[in-house]
Point group: C2
Amino acid sequence: MFTITFRLTGSEPVTISATAEENLLDVARKANVAIDAPCSGNGACGKCRVRLVKGLLDSPINRHLTTEEYEAGWRLACCSKVAGDAVIEVPDIASAYRSRMKMADLESPQEVAIFENLRRQLVEAGFHFQSDLEFLEVNLTEPTTDDTMPDNERLIRAVEEATGVPYDSVVLPYSVLKDLCWVLRESEWKVKCVISRDFERIQIRDVLPQSNHDPMVGFALDVGTTTLAGLLVDLQTGKILAKASCGNGQIRYGADVINRIIESEKLGGRKRLQDAVIKESIIPMLAQMYQTAHINPRRIYRMVLAGNTTMNHLALGLYCDPIRMEPFVPSFFRTRYIFVRDIGLRMNPLAELVVAPNIGSYVGGDITAGTLVSMIWNSPELSLFIDLGTNGELVFGNNEFLMSCACSAGPAFEGGDISCGMRATDGAIEACTIDKDTMEPTLTVIGGVAPVGICGSGIIDLIAELFRCGIINGKGKIVREGPRIVRDKHGMGSYILAFQKDTGGVKDVSINEVDIDNFIRAKGAIFSATTTMLSSLGFDPSVIERVYVAGGIGSGINMKNAVTIGMFPDIPLDHFHYIGNSSQAGAYAMLMSTEARTKVFDLARSMTYLELSNEPRYMDEFVAACFLPHTDASLFPSVQQE
Amino acid sequence: MFTITFRLTGSEPVTISATAEENLLDVARKANVAIDAPCSGNGACGKCRVRLVKGLLDSPINRHLTTEEYEAGWRLACCSKVAGDAVIEVPDIASAYRSRMKMADLESPQEVAIFENLRRQLVEAGFHFQSDLEFLEVNLTEPTTDDTMPDNERLIRAVEEATGVPYDSVVLPYSVLKDLCWVLRESEWKVKCVISRDFERIQIRDVLPQSNHDPMVGFALDVGTTTLAGLLVDLQTGKILAKASCGNGQIRYGADVINRIIESEKLGGRKRLQDAVIKESIIPMLAQMYQTAHINPRRIYRMVLAGNTTMNHLALGLYCDPIRMEPFVPSFFRTRYIFVRDIGLRMNPLAELVVAPNIGSYVGGDITAGTLVSMIWNSPELSLFIDLGTNGELVFGNNEFLMSCACSAGPAFEGGDISCGMRATDGAIEACTIDKDTMEPTLTVIGGVAPVGICGSGIIDLIAELFRCGIINGKGKIVREGPRIVRDKHGMGSYILAFQKDTGGVKDVSINEVDIDNFIRAKGAIFSATTTMLSSLGFDPSVIERVYVAGGIGSGINMKNAVTIGMFPDIPLDHFHYIGNSSQAGAYAMLMSTEARTKVFDLARSMTYLELSNEPRYMDEFVAACFLPHTDASLFPSVQQE
């Protein structure tokens, strides 16, 4: 047995015994030391860097490490084996997550427009856009020696009188009873109740002095495999009170849902995965939102969670094993009677948790909520809704039918599996062009700062431009040379977008042939899913009248370039629309409108699900699509022409 | 500032700063050091003994301490003031409580008879004696690739099929969903549900493999001011699975409800008082019951709590201030929609908490539940139900009307405020006679062991015998001398029941004139409440056809002696019946029978409440009754005759 000591920022070192040849990432997990490992230990992502300070590790050099870095002690934890006592320095993952947390500027016209548009569309579709929770002001008569009715009865009688709902149908639960004595007397018997109506009953959710002017708040949350995005909303007006996003803390257990499920099956894994998203991600995000918007968590009366089937099962602390094992049966598609407190969040004790419904093991609530927002169910036009997440999900149809499917695109659209990849946030290259002659790039960087990495929309542009300029061939191999082209000792080529000397960063911002290959597989998955689903209905892509693209790929997505690389079918460019984070927007709509909530459940019930792994042609389609733009160039006449 | 160090058994000493003249009991409470102080600090009970090991205290000698004890360092904490640095040894209150905990022997015929009789009476009165919770066995079809219905839907469909209740009316909450995946697969899709029916809906409370044979359990709890008594019950058969009693941990904050309320009004007091009963009393009692009866707490689906208005408010963690302030308005009489988890008990997460209803600030659920058990509502005979607790409560009436009132008897009936008083448990003298000539006593001791103290029934006998033998006069003063009579330097007399040298105990078991006076005041309160209530209806005691006596006074109560001392009216002895702990028995009935539960709520609604403090004649009646048997001896012809 050897002794491994992990040095952590801001806390005591952790020491654990390990046997020879034990994997260092596993040792760290045993010791409860958090190491960022999105690919969950296959050496692919290069994120699990640690530094060997003293002692021995059996750890080869790796394409993710330069010789200088290796000499300075940097190693990939997932590729290292215990070979003796060692002291390991671990980068601070918590601060890495914190720095990734982002509060939105609610004043920006873009932010305002997203939800204004959504509301307008839903109102036009005939929805009432107002929460079913109400404030009800009641003035009680003060007790006297001749009227010693107890507090709870006094309040219920007043509610009965104000609403006409009979005494026995008014529900006053413990959380309201607990401080009722104090609230009634402090407010001098003038209170307002937060109430909801359920069939013939009224539930009193809260009782406040009439002088309290806290808004009635709801929480809409998109739980993505890679990123969480939350909104605090005034349930009376629909106003966004705070908006934030942050990384999903589960990422250290794997970048995709399969790796997360595998981790959750281990002893204590279900709890670990739930904690990673609830305690390490949602709670810190909420804390920051509360502070920014001056919200008292007890005033949050409802939460809507939209996420894929695995994400919502893990957030609810449920077993996921059957999701990935035939016959792929999850614990739920639809839930009712679940409360925010059940998943360990402290809001109003009666706040219910509405989970956007799943329709299959791999098409979840993010898609049903997103389908609402796409509005494709409201028009006779044949439309395609594509959510580009770590899983790619597609819904095709119109106001008469809807079919969905899912494919595993990997995290490339959100910048994962790409050596300089990052989410669409400050410092990300979100667009670029390349001069065909000089091979010099022109970059658009979010936030107008020096480039740090490249996000999904930037990668699409980059690959399209590299292809257009003949720098890469249809297989994604670099076939030209020049000052921006470098090759390692194995001959693997990279194209440098920004030199370290120019950016002042820690390394060049570049893309290499492995990155390009990863991205081509991701876009190939999307394209082949599209054609497979359409052909199962007897259609080809030319029937598509509208394409709604959603997801964290970034609003800078250039549809022409996405067609150029063969990600989307070659149809007129004005058919494409980027609709942002439709999962979050759908959660917002479900929070604000009972009819929207009902509609999402109806959509989920009516949507059919095509399991691509049961379609024999899907694999062939996928292989054919892993080429720029496609092995069958005739499918992309506009690209050919150019 | 001085430094006070408290030495505790089995834990680290606690040190706190204190100012000169600060009360030592207050200092201890600030330091979270538990000292048994039933009278809450007025020097009356003598229970708050601590030992000064080192340093200084300003603390006079007191009638509760002998000179030897005082010289050995013993002091009453409530009568001591800080006068310098000091080290104080505190007797172990926790172990005192533990040693007071008592598990009943369920095999004893007495124990069996109590609940058999109750059930027979209620069944004769037309009640169904079966819980409304049911086991429902369902066999699910195993999922296949052609049938991928999620687990929750699969179960709800099966319940729908088995019961005919439509899908949308079957409630499957989070606690069931959480482990559903595992339970269904481990049981090979053969499960049994615990269900309840509420209006048209079915609630699934639990899902277990069919191979699980745990009983479905309910918890009936009497929360007395001094003593708690709990039962675990098989909800299908009514069988008692475990029975236990223990002291109420709140006793260190005062022996009666008023002192408890006062303490609860202090900063953090509401939480302290709730913790004292829930965490320090109920949870340890339950732990012992679980162990004895091999119960899994998750299998407890319902709890019924019966206690006086203050006790149920404190157990629920509610504010009590308004209970003791005009116009005496509590938070509730009746509650609904309260769960066991709301008060911090971990049973089945859906276990509801039924609280026996209060009818006034000083007549609570113990009395409404007890009235059910007395059966006085089921007969045309004019009957009196008396619950002899720390508060004495009375209900008078028949199947046409019921009137109730409450008086403050103090803890004397349960052995409080009596120097050698104790509860009716092993070592307690429960009965005695005295030879008129020799003044020698003959004692009956519970458990057949050496006498340790004297319980309520024993005190009644003792005072009646002392009075009959002319050892005390009508005022309770000792008027004979002899070997068993001792007097202190102030001339206060004591009668010694058992000498220390004979019992091997720490001191003589005796009763003194202050004890006798306390008891006379207690019995006077009961008698005057009886006559005041009856006369408010235009009756005198001769109309009473039945008297049902309940409470912790002990089953050994001698009704003749109780009449002799003027506690009960002088009516034929065969009118009197002791019915034990009617509050606990009522909670048991409410647990087992929906109709019994409904009946208790109906009784509470129909019962009128007489506030004695509003009756001008009550004070006069009370003063007149503080005499043996009464200042108006003509009210007790049978005593006069003897």
